[in-house]
Symmetry: C2
Subunit: 123 residues, 2 copies
């Protein structure tokens, strides 16, 4: 399944996002985001090749999901009410720009994001 299927590199969308939240307890809860990412992978037919979830003591967490399509990462800082979040999905085997946007939107809703900024790069 990992074998490449087409012969032209297709740039993927990388969403580079920062936000704060209404309630910082939500960004201490690593299980919440673990479940969300796993649901996204199933829902959108992504292929996970590895992952790291690391909880900092009495603080936030760092999580990266490695995909055949590239990666998703999140770093939370509840003590500063700050989250940095990346969704980077290749369009190689199929077009994933809408999927990347949906994963981004869904996480912001899940965590009840307030102020936020997002940059979009094709790469």
């Amino acid at each position: 399944m990992e074998k490449h299927l087409t012969n032209v590199y297709k740039e993927g969308l990388h969403l580079i996002s920062e936000f704060s939240v209404a309630d910082t307890t939500l960004i201490k809860d690593m299980e919440l985001v673990t479940a969300y990412f796993n649901t996204c992978i199933d829902t959108f037919g992504l292929q996970k090749v590895g992952e790291v979830y690391h909880q900092f003591p009495e603080s936030g967490y760092t999580a990266v999901v490695c995909l055949t399509e590239s990666h998703i990462s999140i770093h939370t800082w509840p003590e500063f009410n700050r989250v940095t979040f990346d969704v980077f999905l290749s369009n190689y085997q199929k077009y994933n720009n809408e999927t990347a946007e949906k994963i981004h939107d869904g996480l912001l809703k899940l965590l009840n994001a307030k102020e936020h900024s997002v940059k979009r790069l094709m790469r």
Copy 2:
């Protein structure tokens, strides 16, 4: 050691890089980059909290190193002579902008990068 030491969020430098190489055999060699990242972590006093290294059959690899300081990621596509590379280091416990630049420069030298583009974000 993971306990946060200061009480102000400090934006970190995120280098977002793409490049091609003179010899694509170098971007199939995951051991090369594994050794390089581990050397960087030791040299620059970064704190690794997890990692994923995944080799695609007869192709490139995906690697992400999760750090207390955020993450480093690389996705290689030897069949297209294309690499996407990210270095994102928080300045929270110490100022890491120069370290991020050195890790970026060193990897481009290691892999004998040719054409390349890099964007820098503070986030």
